[in-house]
């Protein structure tokens, strides 16, 4: 039984468990990070919403800047999510 998609470039013995071991580890590793980043994106969205509500409660000259910082923070989280998808 051969699996070319898993064995390409591998010159080690073709034992299935051996081949899938490290690959499975990295797949799980990547999946965990993607799930973690997704939760973090939700947190970043909640943060922006809370900033909006607080700037409505207390209006200052910094209100716009704080919302912008929250948006930048969310964009960074989205960029990192995209990075983990393509890696």
């Amino acid at each position: 039984m051969t699996f070319p998609q898993y064995t390409a470039g591998i010159t080690e013995p073709t034992d299935l468990n051996f081949l899938l071991g490290p690959k499975l580890f990295f797949i799980l590793f990547k999946a965990l990070f993607i799930i973690g980043i997704l939760f973090y994106i939700i947190y970043a969205v909640i943060m922006i919403r809370q900033i909006q509500l607080m700037t409505e409660t207390v209006k200052t000259k910094m209100s716009g800047s704080l919302i912008l910082l929250g948006v930048i923070h969310l964009i960074l989280a989205l960029l990192l999510f995209g990075y983990f998808l393509i890696v």
Binding site: F26, F29, K30, F33, G36, I37, Y40, Y43, A44, I46, M47, Q50, I51, L53, M54, E56, T57, V58, K59, T60, K61, M62, L66, L69, G70, H73, L76, A77, L80, Y83, F84, V87
Partner: protein, 250 residues
């Protein structure tokens, strides 16, 4: 027929009458007579209320500020809150003293330096380079989120003292906040405490305000110049009592 109704003498008589017009006793009374002789009357605003500089020694020594990062911001410019009344003026805006935020600043610095330490011992050597970069980027993103959350918590935890009320706005975390107000004339007791090394060195402490409102106690925790805040609140209480006696209550 002679015109007696427009005779010049009659007009002169009318002119004299108007010059020595008799007024009623009520019109003779001066408009601003102090009810309490010991309290000097000072110029009032159009709404009948005095500016804070007239009755507060604490605020007389302070200039208005537009710096939004100050923990002790007298007469803040460009600040409004949602339940502010039309003629209500914010006299003092308070936040926790910056020295109370050292904990999360120190934690952030340690966390920021940790990847450098872990790299030096090749902690991530088992990961491919692209994964290692991703982990480090994610680590710094989490630290950035932690710093931003801590800053927002400090920035939006505000204590406001207006000429009518005290307001306590608490921003606990991303999903919980609280706002409590009490009128100045409902304040019963005000206490200031400084404790600890940092409190003494940086004049940082707490002000506890007992009220007759629904929320019985307000605590302004970790604020700068607590003694000054207590003095200001006492001055505001006195002014509220004056307003009640003089009928200038809003």
């Amino acid at each position: 027929m002679p015109d007696i109704f427009n005779h010049p003498a009659k007009k002169e008589k009318i002119r004299i009458k108007r010059k020595f017009r008799v007024t009623s006793p009520a019109e003779d009374k001066p408009a601003d007579k102090p009810l309490i002789a010991s309290i000097p009357m000072t110029p009032k605003q159009d709404n009948g209320h005095r500016s804070v500089d007239h009755y507060s020694e604490v605020m007389r020594a302070e200039k208005p500020t537009s710096n939004m990062f100050k923990a002790y911001a007298p007469k803040p410019l460009g600040v409004n809150f949602t339940v502010q009344e039309e003629e209500e003026v914010i006299i003092l805006m308070l936040r926790q003293h910056p020295v109370t935020q050292l904990k999360w600043v120190a934690i952030s610095l340690i966390l920021a330096l940790m990847p450098l330490f872990l790299n030096s011992i090749s902690f991530f050597s088992f990961l491919p380079p692209s994964y290692e970069l991703g982990v480090i980027l994610m680590w710094y993103l989490f630290i950035l989120g932690y710093i931003f959350k801590s800053f927002l918590r400090w920035f939006f935890n505000i204590y406001l003292i207006t000429d009518e009320r005290i307001i306590d706005i608490d921003f606990y975390n991303m999903i919980r906040r609280n706002m409590a107000t009490a009128k100045i004339d409902r304040i019963e007791d005000v206490t200031a405490t400084n404790k600890g090394f940092l409190g003494t060195m940086f004049d940082e402490g707490s002000v506890v305000i007992q009220t007759a409102s629904e929320k019985r106690e307000f605590e302004f925790d970790g604020i700068p110049h607590p003694a000054r805040v207590v003095t200001l609140i006492n001055e505001l209480i006195l002014e509220e009592e004056r307003e009640t006696l003089e009928g200038r209550v809003r």
